[in-house]
């Protein structure tokens, strides 16, 4: 660390703290210590702190953009042979991700003011958002695997609390539970990987780990297990198959948190995966698993999204699908591509989530078959959906198009089959979005959407702002030097992307939507529809397998405890009582016999002791 670092960089450690401080300052309101006023001051303080984090990040970004990346490290814990640091890597990529997180957090907090207008626990909500934001900011800036793990787990906790925000509703209870436990499974596997890495390499900083991995001293088996452990954590965080269930259930939580979850939380998981990528190279099997997971999630997720009737679930499955593409990009060692996909996905998906949040807020309905004709009633919301959708799929000049065209070009030289996965996912996503659009915004007004009006300004403002951001995303991307090859893709790649998007658009446009059709009478079609609507029956599969096994073992342990272990103890007690009862009959009252017994016992004891001790 050089002494001439500027003040913003020297104080970079503050950035994750802004969010945590926001949580702390909200506590007095959240605990109800100020009874008379509403919770607004807590909300404003949090927004202010997020603004500060964003501004601070911008200053650092500017400086790093001009004079190169900086690393900061502070010693934290040193015991025996273990050295743990708090370390930040202020690189361009990390800072862009940070700005994405704080920026989207800022927008969705303003959005929350409108969406959560009448919420009684507004301060608690903002406290949790602050916690959420702090953990995410720390994850993207982290320069050590330990720190990343530390903050990812905090993210698990805050996801649990945010999903469980409306804890009195039965669906929320199961959603929060599943969100926590699914992520926790991934986290425990990741912890195994982290502990193993720490034991074998003795270091935790990413750069030290890369150096260690380059020496390649592990056996193939150890490397594979290690790789799988490291992949498992992000698989849970990014809602990838088979740990994807939580994201769609998590939609029971408040929408502003869903905006963040669908866009930047999954990004955090992917960024951690990106950071461990050089270590994963040790294990071809782990790479293969990532490719399989990514492909299944991409195609499966976009298929399942087609069959959902809950407007939020259509989006969450498409998030799973896009993260699948990111997994493929990371597995194929194309970090630029992964980042490009992550960035364009995050802004577009956040905008889509805001838009459907507007729909939900003004109709109080999430079922797309009961909505219709909102296009003319909610112009800003409709525009947001259109722009968000266009930014996500390969629509000509927007971010999604650039990312996908770039992917096709890069994949064509590495692995042609995955080109098909990308194009198929793009087509299916386009089809799904068109389906939702037709259901919700086109057609006749149905009963539930007849009285809908445009959202209030607190929601409209961030929505419009983000619409503009999605529109200028291509310009932002071109300005970042590291991505200057952005426009260097051949025409055929562009044609393929646009073509697949158009195909999806057409398919979605001609898809019959009659309401009677929402569950088909044709048995074959219905079977497919149910398969997708119930997410390939994954939940039922889990209930029959893992949940049953754990529950069975726990019942067995409990039974064993009551009857065998405790039963044995009680049996010994009863036996000694019974033998005492019968022994009392042998008491003769003659002192000689007592002395004899005592002597015999002593002799026996001493013999035993001396036999052992010699």
């Amino acid at each position: 660390m050089t002494p001439e670092l500027s003040l913003p960089i020297q104080t970079a450690w503050l950035i994750p703290l802004y969010g945590f401080i926001g949580m702390l300052v909200s506590l007095p309101w959240a605990c109800g210590w100020f009874r008379r006023d509403a919770h607004r001051p807590a909300a404003y303080l949090n927004i202010l702190l997020t603004l500060l984090a964003f501004a601070h990040g911008s200053l650092i970004l500017q400086e790093v953009y001009q004079s190169g990346p900086v690393d900061l490290a502070f010693p934290w814990l040193s015991v025996a042979d273990l050295e743990l640091n708090i370390s930040f890597s202020l690189s361009l990529t990390n800072l862009v991700a940070l700005e994405l997180i704080t920026g989207l957090s800022l927008l969705s907090q303003v959005y929350s003011l409108g969406y959560m207008d009448k919420e009684w626990a507004l301060a608690r909500f903002f406290a949790l958002l602050g916690f959420f934001e702090g953990a995410m900011s720390g994850v993207v800036l982290s320069d050590s695997l330990f720190q990343s793990y530390f903050l990812l787990e905090m993210l698990t906790l805050s996801t649990y609390l945010l999903v469980g925000f409306w804890y009195a509703q039965p669906l929320v209870v199961t959603a929060a539970r599943d969100a926590f436990l699914t992520k926790r499974v991934g986290d425990v596997l990741l912890l195994m990987g982290v502990v193993a890495l720490c034991s074998y390499s003795g270091v935790m900083g990413f750069n030290d780990l890369y150096a260690w991995a380059a020496q390649d001293t592990l056996s193939p088996l150890a490397a594979t297990l290690l790789g799988l452990g490291l992949v498992a954590g992000p698989t849970g965080k990014c809602a990838q198959f088979p740990m994807h269930l939580w994201l769609d259930e998590a939609m029971e939580g408040p929408n502003p948190a869903s905006i963040l979850r669908n866009s930047v939380v999954v990004t955090c998981g992917a960024i951690v995966l990106l950071k461990v990528m050089p270590i994963l190279q040790l294990s071809p099997i782990a790479i293969g698993v990532m490719l399989v997971i990514g492909s299944i999630s991409a195609i499966g997720g976009s298929l399942v999204a087609l069959a959902q009737v809950d407007i939020k679930r259509t989006l969450s499955y498409s998030t799973t699908a896009h993260m699948g593409l990111v997994f493929i990009a990371i597995a194929l060692q194309i970090p630029v591509l992964a980042l490009l996909l992550l960035f364009t996905h995050a802004v577009s998906k956040a905008l889509l989530s805001m838009s459907i949040g507007g729909v939900i807020a003004s109709t109080n309905c999430q079922d797309i078959t009961e909505l219709g004709g909102l296009g003319s009633r909610m112009p800003a919301t409709t525009t947001a959906f259109l722009v968000g959708g266009a930014g996500l799929v390969g629509f000509l000049p927007l971010g999604g198009f650039l990312a996908l065209a770039q992917s096709i070009e890069l994949l064509s030289v590495r692995s042609v089959p995955f080109m098909a996965v990308f194009l198929l996912t793009n087509a299916l996503t386009a089809m799904g979005l068109v389906r939702v659009f037709r259901h919700v915004f086109m057609g006749d007004s149905l009963i539930k959407s007849r009285r809908a009006a445009e959202v209030n300004w607190q929601m409209a403002f961030p929505m419009v702002a983000l619409t503009v951001i999605v529109l200028i995303t291509p310009l932002l991307l071109v300005r970042l030097e590291s991505l200057d090859g952005l426009l260097a893709f051949p025409l055929w790649a562009a044609a393929l992307v646009v073509g697949s998007g158009l195909l999806g658009l057409l398919a979605g446009a001609v898809l019959p939507l009659s309401k009677a059709w929402s569950r088909s009478l044709n048995p074959v079609l219905r079977w497919w529809q149910d398969l997708l609507a119930y997410d390939f029956y994954t939940e039922r599969f889990y209930r029959l397998t893992i949940v049953n096994v754990v529950a069975g073992f726990s019942r067995l342990a409990s039974w064993f405890d009551r009857n065998v272990v405790d039963g044995l103890l009680n049996g010994v007690a009863r036996f000694s009582l019974a033998s005492a009862d019968s022994l009392k009959l042998s008491v003769s009252g003659q002192s000689q016999s007592y002395v004899l017994t005592v002597l015999l016992a002593i002799v026996l004891f001493l013999t035993a002791v001396s036999w052992f001790l010699t």
């Binding site: 015991v79 009684w120 009195a168 912890l191 409990s558 103890l569």
Partner: protein, 496 residues
């Protein structure tokens, strides 16, 4: 003199309470014992001033001849292993006294017994003579038995008797082993050097160590010697549960480190792979059994079985890092289970039940227990090893310190750590989420629960804060004890 003060304050205090003239009210007695325990707690923290953390040896030694003929001498000393435990004893005994709000039945005896326990535990952690340790170890037994048997729940007689008998067996085994050691070495002084291979064959070493292992294993408790613990916890009142989980179980793990590992390093090394396996079984068994529990206190009790298994795992590995993790786990488990038992106690006092089949929606802001629920979430998350709290640090240190010697046992124990999240999440989800209900079918109009005053929650809040502080700044604790745990470890060379 400072160390003797830690014994004199509680013992003389107990005597004073017994001899207190007239018939003082329960509140008055509680105030007096709180003052005494505050003084004792301050005296414990005063130890930090003369204590030299860089010194791995015994410090502040105090010696006097006592019943020298049978080898019983008065010898106290402090090192990095006992200091954190003495501090924790000071804090938790104070918390227990503060939490004893509603003692109407013979309060004089109750508070006197509380003080005796606190002094005896201090004595056991500080004793430097095998017989003296044993004396204190047994001295704490009787008051605890009475605290359960007199002030316990409905089935207290069964639980108390079981506790007494089982723990007495533990005492007999330990005494037998100590006598065996004295027989071999000719001294009861336990500044004594470890018993080395040349001195005694491996079989007798293993026998002596085995007796100690089972003796302390009952106290810790480890599977299959654990069944007294859930019963004792269920019947004990809240403050007694706090003491039992927080302080008394630690006597077992302390003995494990100090006597089994410390006195028989060679035999320990031979037995270590088996011990690691035993630890993994204990962890998994405790966690699985906890999932099936419907009584909140039993669930927390079984979680103790699992979490104490980590200590055995780390002790088996006996790496410097692992032993630091073991000590960290003792402290964090003491604090976290303190929070959990206090919170469960509030729930029980307010609703009259701890049954997870009937409790629902206690987080309800108007009629439920929102602050209690929030503390419960903090407690269970700390116990499940969420970073930012002390439990995570100890688990990470233990796993990192044990993975290389015993990879399989460590990985299985990590699965146990995942299971902790399962049962505690079920607890929170069942009892605190959902619609408020306290009895079966009572969803429509449950009775309104009393507001719990903030000061009643103060002990749990304070303990939670300590858990957070230790989780964010673990060096506060690790710096105190690093020299001692490194000195105890079997691997003296550097690992890297």
């Amino acid at each position: 003199m400072l160390l003797s003060l830690l014994l004199l304050i509680p013992f003389l205090g107990a005597l004073a309470l017994i001899l207190w003239p007239g018939s003082p009210s329960s509140a008055r007695l509680r105030d007096v014992s709180i003052v005494l325990l505050v003084v004792q707690c301050l005296a414990s923290f005063a130890l930090l001033l003369p204590f030299d953390a860089a010194d791995a040896g015994l410090q502040l030694v105090e010696q006097a001849r006592w019943v020298h003929a049978i080898g019983l001498d008065y010898a106290l000393a402090l090192d990095g292993l006992s200091l954190p435990l003495v501090l924790m004893n000071g804090v938790l005994c104070l918390v227990a006294a503060i939490a004893s709000r509603t003692i109407e039945n013979r309060p004089r005896v109750y508070f006197a017994l509380l003080l005796v326990i606190s002094g005896a535990v201090n004595g056991a952690f500080l004793a430097q003579n095998l017989l003296l340790f044993f004396l204190f170890y047994e001295l704490e037994l009787i008051p605890l038995w009475m605290l359960i048997a007199v002030w316990g729940g409905a089935n207290r007689a069964y639980a108390a008797t079981k506790f007494l008998i089982v723990t007495a067996v533990s005492g007999v085994l330990i005494l037998g082993a100590f006598l065996g050691i004295a027989f071999v070495t000719g001294t009861m002084d336990f500044s004594l050097r470890p018993i080395l291979a040349g001195e005694l064959g491996m079989t007798p070493q293993l026998v002596l160590m085995g007796a100690l292992l089972i003796g302390f294993g009952i106290k810790i408790p480890l599977f299959p010697f654990h069944t007294w613990l859930p019963d004792a916890h269920t019947e004990a009142s809240t403050p007694v549960s706090v003491l039992l989980a927080g302080v008394l179980l630690k006597l077992g793990t302390y003995g494990l480190l100090r006597f089994c590992l410390g006195l028989f390093p060679d035999a320990w090394q031979v037995a270590a792979p088996w011990l690691a396996g035993w630890a993994a079984i204990s962890v998994l068994y405790g966690s699985l059994a906890a999932i099936a529990q419907t009584d909140m206190k039993r669930m927390v009790a079984y979680s103790s079985v699992g979490h104490m298994g980590y200590v055995l795992l780390a002790a088996a590995a006996a790496t410097p890092l692992g032993l630091m993790g073991a000590l960290f786990q003792m402290v964090s488990h003491g604090l976290i289970s303190g929070v959990l038992f206090l919170v469960v106690g509030v729930v029980y006092a307010q609703t009259g039940t701890r049954d997870l089949n009937v409790l629902r929606g206690l987080l309800n802001p108007q009629r439920g227990l929102p602050l209690t629920g929030s503390l419960m979430i903090i407690g269970v998350m700390a116990s499940a090893g969420i970073p930012g709290m002390a439990g995570f640090i100890s688990e990470f240190l233990i796993f990192r310190g044990s993975l290389q010697p015993f990879p399989l046992a460590t990985l299985l124990s990590m699965v146990g750590s995942g299971l902790t999240a399962v049962y505690f999440l079920l607890l929170v989800n069942r009892a605190f989420f959902g619609r408020l209900a306290i009895a079966p079918g009572e969803v429509v109009n449950p009775r309104i629960l009393n507001r719990v005053a903030l000061r009643e929650q103060a002990p749990a809040i304070a303990l939670s804060l300590v858990v957070l502080v230790l989780g964010l700044a673990p060096e506060l604790l690790s710096n105190l004890s690093e020299a001692a745990t490194t000195g105890l470890s079997l691997i003296t060379g550097d690992l890297s």
